[in-house]
């Protein structure tokens, strides 16, 4: 779709317009210092990029300006695209927002257009031709920078989601042969599948005999999730491990009963503590309080 937009914008680009490009570019190069200062000034005035210092803004402004003019000249967007992605990667962690990036690119477009206007205001016809050459290229650049930024953002978000998913299903060994799996957060089918896989592999590698699955942190359970839990329990059994499910809230318990999920083969215990205690009993552990050495006893 982006490609379509770009070609549409290029349509008014007549041969006349093209012949104006070199002149346009050399004008922009000649007034480089003044233009980029003006641009940086306008960025500060518009209170964009609050997360960056003025020196940083100015150095980025300089390189963006040069890339921008290069792209105008050659029409090749690859190096600009690469730069935009690289820039996005650097500024996204600092909290720069999409509207700021778009605002800045549009500001540059305006600054350059105004300077063209100043130069060619005597000859309206020539100015029109210059604009014909300038506008499509400038719009295209704005689109590319914006899209690169959004892509980069999406990539970062995707990466973070993967990390969160990875982190959110830890399988913990509580005692020898006893595993605990506290599930926190919404369970969708993808996560449930990943969780089952991790759990079954952990059962094998830790030689677990009892697994306590705690769903205190799961806000809601629907039919799919309930069935998946039942499947996980069955699969663990096939591997020789008993499963205790703990932390069913009254709401979830009621939902499960209303849904009619067959839970006859699921052993449930009220809370995580109860589950661990029951598991210890199954494993033959006996937990006793040791007599505490009081200061008197020592003396």
């Amino acid at each position: 779709m982006q490609q379509d937009d770009v070609t549409l914008m290029q349509e008014p680009n007549t041969e006349d317009g093209n012949s104006c490009l070199p002149e346009l570019v050399s004008h922009l190069r000649d007034s480089r210092t003044q233009l980029r200062e003006e641009w940086a000034q306008r960025i500060t005035d518009a209170q964009l990029l609050g997360a960056m210092s003025e020196e940083e803004i100015f150095s980025e402004v300089t390189s963006v300006f040069d890339k921008y003019v290069d792209t105008l000249e050659t029409g090749s967007v690859e190096s600009l695209q690469e730069y935009a992605e690289d820039l996005s990667e650097r500024i996204i962690p600092r909290g720069v927002e999409t509207h700021e990036v778009l605002g800045i690119v549009l500001l540059l477009r305006d600054v350059l257009a105004r300077s063209l206007f100043q130069k060619y205001q005597e000859d309206f016809k020539l100015f029109n031709r210059v604009l014909d050459a300038y506008e499509p290229a400038a719009n295209r650049i704005a689109v590319i920078v914006g899209v690169s930024f959004v892509h980069e953002r999406e990539r970062v978000i995707g990466q973070q989601q993967a990390t969160i998913r990875e982190l959110s299903t830890p399988v913990l060994q509580v005692r020898e042969r006893l595993l605990a799996l506290p599930i926190i957060g919404e369970l969708d089918s993808q996560r449930a599948g990943q969780l089952t896989e991790q759990l079954l592999n952990a059962v094998r590698s830790n030689r677990a005999r009892v697994v306590v699955i705690d769903i205190t942190g799961v806000p809601a359970v629907d039919k799919n999730v309930a069935n998946h839990l039942v499947q996980t329990v069955r699969a663990c059994r096939l591997m020789g491990a008993a499963v205790l499910v703990t932390g069913l809230s009254s709401d979830i318990a009621r939902t499960l009963v209303t849904l009619g999920v067959d839970l006859s083969m699921m052993d449930t215990v009220g809370d995580l503590q109860g589950g661990i205690e029951e598991a210890e009993r199954l494993l033959g552990y006996e937990v006793r309080k040791a007599p505490i050495a009081t200061p008197e006893a020592k003396g």
Binding site: E197, N201, R204, R207, R234, R237, M239
Partner: protein, 125 residues
């Protein structure tokens, strides 16, 4: 190649080394049921560690052996079901709720030992 059945103390151990055809499954079933009477075994361990797939026929046949074994006064345990095999079986609805399973051979032996210990205890009472 038929599945080798080894005698280990009071138990029979059948260690499946490869994917089994339906025919081989039936053979294994027959041999196990025959030998349990011959050697007066009190337990059977079927090790499926090497199996990548346990289909409905294999699981039903194993379940039949388990239930038959129980009728003859012994107990069977399936050991070594791999994580992905276990989950696939559950997803296909191959239920083994009434069959004993254990993690590996060692666990299986331990299970049968405690089963026998439990049985003698019950008898004495």
């Amino acid at each position: 190649m038929p599945v080798p059945i080894l005698k280990q103390g009071p138990y029979l151990v059948a260690s499946i080394q490869d994917a089994l055809s339906d025919r081989e499954v039936l053979e294994l079933q027959e041999n196990l049921l025959k030998q349990i009477g011959e050697v007066r075994a009190s337990g059977i361990i079927v090790d499926v560690t090497a199996m990548d797939v346990i289909d409905s026929f294999a699981s039903r046949s194993l379940r039949t052996v388990a239930l038959t074994t129980r009728l003859r006064g012994a107990e069977m345990v399936i050991v070594g079901i791999q994580p992905d095999v276990a989950f696939a079986m559950v997803q296909f609805g191959l239920l083994m709720d009434d069959v004993n399973t254990a993690l590996d051979l060692e666990e299986g032996l331990e299970f049968l030992d405690s089963w026998i210990a439990g049985r003698t205890f019950d008898d004495e009472e």
